[in-house]
Symmetry: D2
């Protein structure tokens, strides 16, 4: 039972869409955070948000960043706005938690990279899965040496159903939009990836195919120490959000299976010890992770080493996505340099 | 993500020991509740509590119950005080959530029974396990008819380790102190128990034996429709808090196993798919249940039918504990009448 | 892969009904056994059996026992014939494996007891479950001390569906007919049971009730060292043959769940990691156990200590069944003396 | 309980090493097969084998194939002899079950391909895993449409420990020696593979690396309908033989985990519901599969369609291994044509 801090951080939330609502709720539920400003170009969204969680509404993100009573910023607006908002936060010296990806275009990312690196202002990327308690527990045990040196990491990641065609059209492709989370998860274990081999598939969606995108993919990666990573993706999954992880080493295997709301098991004439259905999508599956991500961001702002992924992590994930995109298109392994 | 209610209930917490702290934290974490008064005859405990969670401290429970700014009371003080505090709440018309048991002596319970029944003031008993999400999910599925008519209920309940001898001495015995939770769980499925057959065992603790008490027990009960219940208890468990439930009917079996903090599984040279250790005791295992118990109490106070166990449930559990105590002593089945 | 022995034992099989067929198949599949004679008062049954597995047919069990070319006997005829056939085998000095129970009447059992005890001829009882590889593995681990001293044993045993009314009528009641296997399983762990408390239930079958019998039961037993045993029975089970076991001690818990034909697990929109249905009944569930029971009997005949349950085990199980019958009828604990 | 056939097939076993012993035992245990001749250039091995299982010994495989009293041949001799022995069997019109691979050199395979295809003599390849009851059950459910059209197949295959260096030196490399089983398993679901992308790793064995071979690999394949397959290999595994399979389709997921000798689960202070260790290697894991493989071969010889993999399956697996070898060496996807 954590005690409330005497001085919660005052947040500006930029973007009040679906993911913005997740952050607004996390802020409201945190004893260390309070929503000071909600901002959306669609100002009614911001107003509805502050109606629920308190604070004031605005449609001007730069004003929100610059406000005297804002201690930290969460960027949950559309991807194309991320780079400029990060830059504004860094210039204003306001710590920022930005949703992934930084941008779909690595040149735009690199354009602000030096400025971010030169600054001491925390720039944290929203790779929430690092904070999932199950994955974090597995990672802690790998680090504690339970399976010896990590040799192989297997990440399975399937969405319950594909995003609409209009979203797919601007998503940057499966590797930049969906696999990017898995690239970061891989790097949470093996930061120094040196080679990417990706194979894309069109298995069920003519819509996705019509956008020149894949609806399933397998990515094999090589890390600097010779470790292997395999990522398996699909844009649909009848049994809910498929988010599994396994780590293999000379001394054993650690696994995290999917999660259900409860642990009731049923046995009937046709099945045995059947679990309840897995959680449907990221709002359920990563509810705790979003809260812990925010708590880590607060700790990072306060100067602790809380394991928050940073700008360089965001850039690395995008580099891997770019490499995977090329690999799948050209049918060959792509060497990468994340340094 | 529930929204905060415009007018949270203002609570007086009577008793600020271990279980009182659980309630204080639940109140603090609830958007629908606020701690107004903390009361303890050991007033430093009350003061420490309000130092953390807010409110004012007192050593006078009757003053707390009578205070104008108190909307509801939680009784978490020692068992011998429960009856009087319940009576004071009922007389003051203040809704009360009282920890189990009402009392160890059924005559004291019955002495206030008519007054409680004649009053419309909610008197809720702290049988928190009814609100555990896993048990509640199982119960909902039984009620939905998934296994047909319930025929058999098996409750396994083992504490990680025995309470100290001085506690055992005044506990009322294993049936009134420990099994009482299981009696209530049984009644959550099968309210109308008609017969109790209990067997007590002395398996490991000379201390418990020296107090004339059992350290393990098996209780078989018959419900009015011929249904069977078996409760298995032990005062110790190396693998943590053993809290399992299974329900059997003509169409199948529903089970809830123990709970771990995470779902990581490990395979090594000596074991396969081993789960993380089960949660240690009730503070971990029933954390969610305590919050949901409070939420249900708030709803009950507001006039909803929220499934909170009431005074009659507390009395019935004690009657079953008394019957079990006699049954184990006399080596015979005891008929009970809970009406 | 066991090698065939140079001289397989030549068997007479007395009784060629359902359980006789199981034994005939076990003999045929064993490299150490050969079917020499099949006997049934319904001689066509014996003839069909030897038509499949070889040997000669007869309707005279005493001639079969006395035959020069018979090394060992399996008694699979109706229960009322068991005592006489065991006695004939003992008198002829022919080792015998007799299906449970020895008889439904303890006085008939005791009438031959001295003769059996005075003889060196092996008399083995068909408590096949002792040889189930899963239960045997659990037992070996208990004996190896993995959970410390055994404190509690829980046996769940449910048939998929009740036997026909005409069988129930002559079965001797649930405790002598069905629970008797569980009594023996309990004694495989805790031979010295000192007290039996049984509760019988009528939950679903008017036919069984009309025969004055129970269709479900819970039996609690106390062993000489204060250990507890609980047996849970039902005459039906939608999810197949429910045969579970758990052993509890100060250092942990060992469990055997039900068995399916394969370990495929399925996840769909409505369920997660569902196993294949459990095996339907004893022919499937205890197939390996019957073979291992026969192998142990052969080893016993050859003078090894192979763990075969003997006449005294058969008698003890019946004594426990008698005590349970009385306990359920009289609603009180019954002390037993198995010595 | 299958009945013995009146006329068992008389087998010549060519090669009496480790895998030859597996087949000798399967033949001995089968009611439909008898060992007539055991052949080994190291004739003492053949003599020891017939000493155990019966039949006569020889060092001349061609004489064994040509013998009048031989109905079928099992080739379990070293890989370089396979092609000639298959050819001799085909010329003699004697059905043959040949261990994998046909050869390490596709040109030698193709040299006899026309002769095999022109003949009606059954040539069956020893891909025993197709007959594993768990994998076969999963495959049957995929074929029955339980998950809809198969979209993705994941095969995990790790040996408990690497073969000795001298074996590695002549093994043909990980893809031809180890992955070849997985290629065949993939084709049991998706026969028409069109593209192979393999990545090899050196993770733990300097010996294997010194032979220019990989000790771990990930292979991604594309089937003609756009389906994906991913194979994960390692030459070591602390937790035993890692042989897992999962099939994914629009309606769900089917999985087979590793297998232990028993289903006992243990819970202690440090772990929960831990299974017994997984089976150590192929002799344990695929014991049933070898018997079922032989039964299917007998059925194939008798003219039934028993699902035995044939010469073309053996050739296809080698083509995929060759493609994987090239893919890993060249860092690019390799198109394959298995027709």
């Amino acid at each position: 039972m954590t005690l409330p801090s005497p001085t919660p951080l005052r947040f500006a939330l930029l973007g009040t869409g679906r993911i913005g609502q997740v952050h607004a709720a996390s802020v409201a539920a945190s004893p260390d955070a309070v929503l000071q400003v909600a901002c959306d170009t669609f100002v009614e969204g911001a107003e509805r948000t502050v109606g629920v969680y308190g604070g004031r509404a605005t449609s001007d993100p730069l004003a929100a960043i610059a406000a005297d009573d804002v201690d930290a910023v969460i960027v949950a607006s559309p991807t194309p706005t991320h780079v400029d908002l990060i830059e504004a936060c860094v210039e204003a010296g306001v710590p920022v938690l930005c949703e992934k990806p930084i941008d779909l275009d690595i040149t735009r990312v690199d354009a602000v990279r030096d400025k971010v690196r030169a600054s001491s202002t925390p720039v944290v990327l929203g790779f929430n899965r690092r904070f999932d308690p199950h994955f974090a527990a597995l990672r802690a045990r790998v680090r504690a040496g339970e399976i010896g040196r990590l040799e192989h990491l297997a990440i399975t990641s399937r969405d319950p159903e594909p995003a609409p065609g209009e979203y797919i059209a601007v998503s940057g492709g499966i590797f930049r939009d969906m696999t990017i989370h898995d690239f970061d998860m891989a790097r949470a274990f093996l930061p120094d990836i040196v080679e990417v081999t990706a194979v894309g598939f069109s298995q069920f969606s003519d819509v996705i195919k019509s956008h020149g995108d894949y609806d399933a993919a397998v990515v094999t990666m090589r890390a600097a120490g010779g470790e292997s990573v395999v990522i398996t993706n699909s844009r649909h999954s009848a049994y809910g959000y498929d988010q599994r992880l396994e780590a293999f080493g000379p001394d054993g295997l650690l696994q995290v299976d999917n999660v259900a709301d409860d642990i009731v098991r049923a046995s009937t004439q046709t099945l045995a010890s059947a679990g309840s259905p897995f959680q449907r999508f990221f709002l359920e599956r990563y509810k705790a992770a979003y809260s812990l991500e925010l708590a880590a961001f607060v700790a990072t702002v306060r100067g602790e080493d809380a394991g928050s992924p940073d700008f360089e992590d965001g850039r690395a994930a995008l580099l891997l996505a770019d490499a995977a995109t090329r690999s799948a298109a050209e049918g060959r392994a792509i060497a990468v340099d994340l340094s």
